[in-house]
Amino acid sequence: MQAFLKTGKLGPQSAGPKDAKAGSSGAKKKSAPVPWVEKYRPRTVDDVVEQGEVVQVLRQCLSGADLPNLLFYGPPGTGKTSTILAAAKQLFGDIYKDRILELNASDERGIDVIRHKVKTFAQLTASGIRPDGRPCPAFKIIILDEADSMTHAAQAALRRTMEREAKTTRFCLICNYVSRIIQPLTSRCSKFRFKPLGEDRVVERLQFISSEENVQCDEDVLRCLVKTCNGDLRRAITSLQSCTRLKGKDSKITKEDVFEVTGVVPNPWVEGVLQVCQTNNYDQVVSFIDELILEAYSASQLLEQLHELIVLNKDLTDKQKTAICDKLGLCAFRMQDGASEAIGLLDLCCTIMAVYQG
């Protein structure tokens, strides 16, 4: 009787959580599709697309050599974070969560955090053996992502910590602009520049993903997508996924979808700027700009495309181009700072008009 009760009780109990677990994980897979960016993050260092030197250094480290302090810099979407995460996973295997402290701009990262959190983590010793008995490097890695948004005081506080704890800790700083990292820090790290990815490699990767995910997409559409993303692989993958989500699974992705998702201003509008400036009619320019803003096209994106158009323009002399580009730069800067789009564009158009008038 007792045994019956016991098994009766235990049976469902032990089965319960298991079932629930299986159910929930199954449901998770079904209902919460992972962003492709996460799904197709490189798992090993060898998976990283291009970036030869870094990969070589990390590979040597994987085979037993020492790891220097690292400083990765380069434009967004070139694989900086992915590379170090993949390397860490390979180095430490299962215990990589204990060996890594990842801090990024969304965490509080003032001087206090550097003084306390980073320091205490750095002072922990790390053994050279994993719990399962296999050897692993006897150090921890502190990843400071988006290091260029750290304050100078916080960066300065890092200097001594970095040297003193060199025995047990390696730092990996990741940033977009190396010029925003203070000199004493850069001199303590070996710097690696991440180049923008080549078009062919990005297309290759996108093709792989789209065949994995059953996305119908032509190669020239992909090329178009890559071009609008300027070698930013993350952005390209996100845009691809957005396209498929917007259109539904079965329909084919066209160039128009790509333009809409990436927020590119259609060419007629960009060329329209120059055309309307050639008329030398102020009121027409004003109404053109109003229209453009009401259509909700992004002015900064327009400036980027306009820049390309002007640089490649054959009708303008070099002097004229200089005058326009000078203003263009000023406008782009002001817009980044939050100035009004309408007035900025108007200013630019006035300059272009003046240039056309000679």
Partner: protein, 354 residues
């Protein structure tokens, strides 16, 4: 009794009046039960909020419309206490982080973390994620935007973020690349006319087509403003007449008069009077960039091409400074003074040449 704007706001994606293919796309997006972070942008009065709310309704059902206000307190690292009002339902949370000025980073870091770290208790019959709706993202500081980037990636499993902005120029590229951006253009005048007619029919009043056309053109393709204007017209005079005067906003007339004063006379005395009027506008809560735009529009009317160029150049310069500093009167005044000097020099040259 509520305003027409609120009364006839479409509540579901299938009831939207324009941008129908986009609505179709959004529906596709929701039907898969999941979506990436969204960045919805467009001019004001184009229907961004309406689209977001109908999207949420499609996602969670009518429960999203039961809203409550909450006050949340935060402490900044420098021990300053800040308070922000949030609007939330059981499924989503709406907040305007730029309300707290330069402390918006703390709000973003703390708020999203707390929302994202609480999982839904009962996932059966519910979505696995909550939605945080951040409005006026283009007014966030750079610091806050940087704070947002990794947060967005980290908590993607339990939280979706919808960003709402007027333009993407001020949103850093790192955020743009993490979101699906949805452009909401302003409705065309024809679309506005159709909507105005529909609303009036539902209200049981007749709207003369000529008046509808005039309202549409005067609203600057801003649907909200058009509906408000239409309602004002109705209050003023029922039944509505085709030749009826559309009441202009009084601050706009005030601004026009101010601009006229600047053109009339250029002297320190006039300057101080203009200053008084500018203060008046600021006190009444007209945003400085709007004043700037209005002033520029009026002032260039009395200039020739070459002067226009110089005036616009000055405007761009001072408008930029306006956003950097925080005392707007200085920059407005500087612009007016510059205009006066340009105008006066030109006039004197003209007279001298004669």
């Amino acid at each position: 009794m509520s305003l027409w704007v609120d009364k006839y706001r479409p509540t579901s994606l299938s009831k939207l009046d324009y941008h129908l293919t986009q609505a179709e796309h959004l529906k596709n997006l929701v039907q898969q039960g999941d979506f990436p972070h969204l960045l919805v942008y467009g001019p004001s009065g184009a229907g961004k909020k309406t689209r977001i709310m109908s999207l949420l309704r499609e996602l969670y059902g009518p429960g999203v419309e039961r809203l409550r206000m909450e006050r949340v307190n935060f402490t900044t690292p420098s021990n300053k206490k800040i308070e922000i009002t949030t609007l939330n339902s059981n499924y989503h949370l709406e907040v305007n982080p730029s309300d707290v000025g330069i402390y918006d980073r703390v709000v973003i870091q703390e708020l999203i973390k707390t929302v994202a770290e609480t999982h839904q208790l009962d996932t059966a019959g519910q979505r696995e994620f909550k939605v945080v709706l951040l409005s006026e993202v283009d007014r966030l500081t750079k610091d806050a935007q940087h704070a947002l980037r990794r947060t967005m990636e980290k908590y993607v499993a339990s939280c979706r973020i919808i960003l709402c902005a007027n333009s993407t120029s001020r949103v850093i590229p790192a955020i743009r690349s993490r979101c699906l951006s949805i452009r909401v253009p302003a409705p065309s005048p024809e679309q506005i006319i159709v909507i105005l007619q529909n609303v009036c029919k539902k209200e049981g009043v007749t709207l003369p087509p000529e008046l509808a056309e005039r309202i549409a053109s005067k609203s600057g393709r801003n649907l909200r403003r058009a509906l408000l204007m239409c309602e004002t017209c109705k209050v003023q005079q029922t039944p509505m007449q085709p030749s009826q005067e559309i009441p202009a906003l009084d601050w706009q007339t005030f601004l026009e008069d101010t601009a006229k004063m600047v053109v009339q006379e250029q002297s320190p005395k006039q300057m101080s009077e203009v200053r008084g009027r500018l203060y008046e506008l600021l006190i009444h809560g007209i945003p400085p960039p709007t004043i700037f735009q209005g002033l520029l529009e009026e002032l260039v009317k009395s200039c020739d091409m070459q002067m226009k160029r110089r005036v616009v150049e000055a405007a761009a310069k001072y408008e930029h400074r306006l956003h950097q500093g925080n005392k707007s009167i200085f920059h407005l005044e500087a612009f007016v003074a510059t205009f006066m000097s340009i105008y006066k020099t030109f006039m004197e040259e003209m007279l001298g040449g004669m």
